[in-house]
Structures are given as C-alpha cells and as structure tokens.
Symmetry: D3
Subunit: 61 residues, 6 copies
C-alpha cells in the first residue's frame, strides 16, 4: 500500500511499461512518504473498442 | 469526468459495444449535467470462468 | 451482472442519483440484452481535492 | 451485493478458480450476514509484465 | 498480491470487518497458494443512495 | 486517458495530494507518451479499519 492502477489503451512497449512502473512508484513514494517497497502498481490495458469519450469509441475515430 | 466502467461477460458484438457507449454517455450526461464530452466509458469484459454469483461460476452453470 | 460503476465529483442531488441509476440501467439493458434486474449500478463520489486532469486538481482550478 | 474482486497473476487452474469463488463467497457471507446468493465474485488476472512492487515488475524478477 | 476488494453497503460492525478480512485472506491463500502475507484486502463501503439493482436504489426500497 | 487510481490510507496533507497528482501525471506522460492533459488521476483514501495485509487490519496493528 499504496496501490496504483493505470488504465490505458493497449500498444505500449515492454520497456515503456517497465519505465512506467518505476517512475510512478518513485512519484508516489516521494510525495506520500510511503516506502518504495510498499508501492504496488497494476497496469490495465484497454482495447480501442472498449473505450469511449463523449460517446465515441477510440476505435470509431 | 464522470468515469463509467461497465463490467460484463464477454460475447457482445462490436455494434452492441458502440451503442452501449453512446447510450450510457447520454444517460450520464442528461442526469448529472456533465457535458457529453466529459463522460468517459470503459468496458471490461469477463470470462465465464472468472465470474460467480452465490459461489457458482457462470462457466459451471 | 453487468456491473456499472460511475465515478463523479460529489455534489449531485439525491434525485439526480436516482435518475442516473434508472437511466444507466435502461441504457445497459437495452444495448446488451441483459435483463433490467441483472444490472447493478454503483456511484462513487470523488472530492475535488482527490481528482486531477493534466496534473491540476479540480480543487486547484 | 457484496461485490468481491480478486486481482491476481495469471496461471491458476480452472479448479483453483472454482474453489476460490466458492470459498471467498462463503467467507463473505458468513462474516457479513449477506445471503450466499447475493455475493458476486469477479477474478481479474494480471500479466507479470503489468504488475510491480517497489518499482520492479514481476516479469523482471 | 493477490489484491481483494470487497464492496458492500455500509453498516457492518468493526468486528465483522475484522473477521471478513481474516476469513477472505485465508480463503484466497488456501485456494490460490499465495502466502497469507501476500494477500491484501480492501473494504469499500457504499451508501444505500449510491447503489441500485434493476434501476432501483437500495435507499428507495 | 490514461486513467490512474491511487488507493492509500487516509491522512496525507492537501499539499501531498497536490504534489502526488502532479508527479504521477508527469511520470505517466513521460513514459507512455500520453499528453499531460490526457492523464486523469483519482485518489481513493482508505480507513485503517478497511485495509488488511496477511489478514491483519492496519487498525489492529
């Protein structure tokens, strides 16, 4: 704890995911005081067909 | 914002998903006053083997 | 099932919440074919101090 | 209602998932008083590349 | 990890919550093989006015 | 999009929350390539009585 969930469209590289977990963990630890080892990050990828803004799906743009 | 997540069993067609995003966005905008463009919808599909009610999985019925 | 979660800033009236649950339930049922009675809606209210877009919190605007 | 979500790394067998839903449902019903039939359980599997603790991903260990 | 979230209507006693965390942790550990110490449980309480089934809120029944 | 949720125990100051939103937004934008303005962050605070690790609640330690 803290637990961080990042929901984003699929398509990032493995390196981007690796760096995302590292940098988000540092950001949370440095601003909340939680030890690095206590910060859990979960990435949840979305398909374009399963995401919309303003009623229009990312896959329909 | 508002952010809407719809968790449902997998199996709907692409057209159903398209219509779902549109209609849910309208329903949220019209009842909360949030502009259409501010409403985000995310669909999360579940496998039957990963969902249960009363301890019995959808895949075991 | 389906399960719908609506995250939005606090401040809507009880009537707005009542109408939101009704209209979202209808939208989901009519587009996915799920019976009305199977649609669960959960409203999660956010404080302005706990929500940001572009790194700027709603409470700091 | 209650609604239970279990996020865990992918890789469990179908039997483990079946038993997990059953046992978690019983645990929730017996401690909260909610009827068994009202307890909904959703399993969400994570890839090792999408999960980190302390900034290090499960796939990088 | 695993991470368990239990969403339920507010109103349970502190003892019920204590027992819920214990029993759910045991159920998850014993069925998935995850060590007890790795199981995280989060309780999220809902107001009756923020929850509906079939379009009718728990507070309107 | 991306959407980031940070679940943590209650008790941080308003300044900590402000800095958390800023730093997490930067971390996500810089590693995923998503424009800063597209990154949404939601903080969800937990009570000690509603969180456990290894079956023992934070409030019972």
């Amino acid at each position: 704890m803290p637990y961080v969930t990042v929901k984003m469209l699929e398509g990032r590289t493995d390196e981007q995911k690796q760096e995302l977990c590292k940098r988000v963990t540092e950001a949370v630890s440095e601003t909340t005081g939680a030890p690095l080892g206590n910060v859990h990050v979960i990435i949840e990828e979305m398909k374009k067909s399963d995401h919309s803004v303003g009623g229009i799906r990312s896959s329909d743009k």
